[in-house]
């Protein structure tokens, strides 16, 4: 099996889907000859031509709207946002046009909107956002956040094959930092299924995206202190895998919810509510949230370091919860 980066795995996934299915095509800014700001789509123009790898003007709303139109016509468009921060400019088309069509009149809208999200590269307030919750709170969409290269490939393939609009958040910090073994053959990682990344018994950390690494690192450290931590990687935020989450909660009886996104209205709140509704009796302590503070993402390294939940913050919160 080849060792691929997270970024290469996404490209391979897209590539294979384009080979498989002529209805898959790409559109976005600077994605064709240039191969995209992060080079995720590099080489695809050469292979598939300019009818299937389409550079657009700087028009996020038209990009999303056009993707909807093409999807209605039976295609499977994959639209890139140069940074997921700019998805706010195509927001209305996503939440009102794409998300509601199937409910309203039954048509299929198979499309993927993908791009780099997340902080950690000193991108400042407009190149570092984690904007998944706007979409998790929009019925009709699916929201996917891979944490490994294997998943990145399997999830992008599943997203492209899905018959619904999927918002696919790639973490730019992971693009070239994460590498794993990625099978060259065809496989998908099904949407809606979480993965237990590490088994444990004292405490479950439920997280996603770049924070999976943070959680695993913290879990390793906590092990040396005799605290056994289970780490759950959600992989899909909408629909999320209630069963897997509840299994870990029941097993560990203590839960930490961890994300890089800000706190109020974040994914951790949703999961805490679901857990206390469905597993109240199984809990041996408060459901703890470790998240970014409620601020924009600041630019300067010391500020950004403070903003991001790091291993130490996770370890400290875990110790306290374990001792509860």
């Amino acid at each position: 099996m080849a060792i691929l980066t997270y970024l290469e795995a996404i490209r391979q996934g897209i590539w294979e889907e384009m080979e498989r299915d002529a209805s898959v095509f790409l559109l976005g800014e600077d994605i064709a000859a240039y191969g995209g700001a992060f080079k995720v789509t590099a080489g695809l123009l050469e292979r598939f031509g300019d009818e299937r790898v389409i550079d657009t003007p700087i028009s996020e709303s038209a990009i999303v709207g056009a993707a909807v139109g093409a999807a209605l016509m039976g295609m499977r468009p994959v639209a890139e946002m140069q940074f997921m921060d700019f998805i706010s400019c195509g927001f209305d088309q996503i939440v009102n046009m794409a998300a509601k069509i199937h409910y309203r009149w039954g048509a299929r809208v198979p499309l993927v909107i993908r791009g780099p999200a997340g902080a950690g590269v000193h991108g400042g307030p407009f190149h570092s956002q984690s904007n998944e919750m706007w979409f998790v709170h929009t019925p009709g969409l699916k929201v996917v956040v891979p944490a490994t290269a294997y998943d990145a490939k399997g999830l992008i393939k599943a997203s492209i094959r899905d018959d619904n609009p999927v918002i696919f958040f790639e973490h730019k910090y992971l693009y070239r930092r994460v590498k794993d073994e990625v099978p060259e053959e065809d496989y998908v990682v099904p949407l809606g299924k979480a993965a237990v990344r590490r088994e444990g018994s004292d405490l479950a950390i439920i997280t996603y995206g770049a924070m999976v690494r943070t959680a695993l690192e913290a879990a390793g450290q906590l092990m040396t202190e005799g605290i056994s931590v289970e780490v759950v990687d959600l992989r899909t935020l909408l629909p999320y895998d209630e069963q897997c989450i509840l299994a870990s909660v029941r097993k560990c009886s203590k839960v930490m919810l961890l994300h890089e996104d800000t706190r109020i209205g974040g994914m951790a709140g949703e999961l805490a509510a679901m857990i206390t509704e469905k597993a109240f009796e199984d809990l041996d302590g408060p459901v703890v949230r470790v998240t970014a503070p409620d601020t924009p993402v600041p630019f300067s390294p010391p500020l950004e370091d403070y903003f991001l939940p790091g291993v130490q913050k996770v370890v400290e919160a875990a110790r306290k919860l374990a001792a509860y």
Binding site: A66, H102, R104, D163
Partner: protein, 351 residues
């Protein structure tokens, strides 16, 4: 920017000059039929059913501007797609929705095309080439671009028509779409029905140009002004734009000057509209005008037109009765069909 006025299929019209075939007599009759059916159905909805409380929620009609929807959509062929505005009732009829289906939708019935989930003309069917508006004005323009990308790639010379109001032209999405269509030479015909008002807002507060058609030039496409109350003129101008699109020459922008002969919606008395304007525009009523033409040119007799009127009334009666006797949806069905999947709720019954 070009201006076209009153080109008719009989006179030496722009269309004739370019050897695009003008409408034939049967087509003329079909046009009148759709005009009258639309007028009758919308009037029944606005002035009867709404007042009787049988239609809940907003009621928007296109009275006085029916020539735009009919004169444009009537020309579409299989594979073409139309994205009508909230005042283009006729487009749905022309593309094969039945009046019964449409009335069911207005009345929130289970057997309307949205099964009660959405209202008014928010009715779509990909197989019929109809993609409906959402309330967020202008949002269908980028969608038309995506449709046209696919039409272009399919290579069957199909086009997409998207209708919107002059007020809608102020939205960013319309700009992004027109620009994208220009750059990619997409076969989209942007049809703006300039009915002088956007809700209460007159055009002087909406844009700062004489004719919106000038916007065509801003995107590298023809921009044409046409009398939107003259169905033959609309037909010709749209015919040319469609031909252009089919030839692979890219998009066109057509501004149809017309007037909204109603309030913005059924609850709006339109007191902000100077009364004289209604009087003036009544003289230009597109249906009366077309009937006069058909009579003068002996395409139809008074009798035939009367018969058409009776037929139309009967159809509306039938559709209203059908819709009224149709069931409302089961409440619990509201939870179904948010997602499309192998066990898709929508597939279970035909639409």
């Amino acid at each position: 920017m070009e201006t076209a006025r009153g080109a008719s299929p009989l006179a030496k019209s722009r269309t004739d000059r370019k050897k695009t075939p003008g409408p034939d007599p049967q087509l003329l009759e079909r046009m009148l039929y759709y005009l009258k059916l639309t007028r009758e159905a919308e009037s029944r909805i606005e002035q009867v059913l709404y007042r009787q409380g049988k239609i809940v929620g907003g009621v928007y009609v296109g009275r006085g501007q029916e020539a735009i929807g009919v004169g444009s959509a009537i020309q579409l062929v299989e594979g073409d797609v139309v994205l009508p505005s909230h005042r283009d009732f006729s487009c749905f009829l022309i593309r094969g929705f039945t009046l019964r289906q449409i009335l069911c939708n207005w009345m929130g019935r289970a057997n309307g095309p949205t099964r009660g989930r959405d209202n008014t003309l928010h009715i779509g069917d990909v197989n019929r080439g109809v993609i409906p508006i959402i309330s967020h004005l202008g949002d269908t323009c980028p969608v038309a671009c995506g449709v046209a990308m696919v039409l272009k790639r399919r290579g069957k010379n199909n086009v997409a028509l998207v209708h919107f109001g002059e007020g809608t032209s102020s939205r960013g999405d319309v700009h992004e779409a027109m620009n994208m269509a220009g750059v990619m030479k997409l076969p989209v015909i942007f049809i703006c029905n300039n009915n002088a008002y956007a809700y209460s807002t007159p055009t002087s507060k909406q844009y700062a140009v004489k004719d919106l058609a000038v916007r065509g030039a801003a995107y590298g496409m023809p921009g044409i002004v046409v009398d939107g109350n003259d169905i033959l003129a609309v037909f010709s101008v749209v015919a040319e734009a469609i031909a252009r699109g089919r030839r692979g020459e890219g998009p066109s922008f057509i501004e149809c000057k017309t007037f909204r002969m109603s309030g913005h919606s059924a609850h709006d008395a339109a007191e902000y509209v100077p009364h004289e304007l209604f009087e003036q525009w009544k003289q230009k009523d597109p249906i009366a005008r077309f009937e006069k033409f058909l009579l003068a040119k002996r395409f139809l007799t008074e009798k035939q037109i009367e018969r058409l009127g009776a037929e139309v009334t009967e159809q509306v009666d039938d559709a209203v009765a059908y819709a009224e006797s149709s069931p409302l949806p089961e409440g619990a069905s509201a939870a179904e069909g948010v997602y499309c999947g192998p066990d898709c709720w929508w597939k279970e019954s035909s639409r």
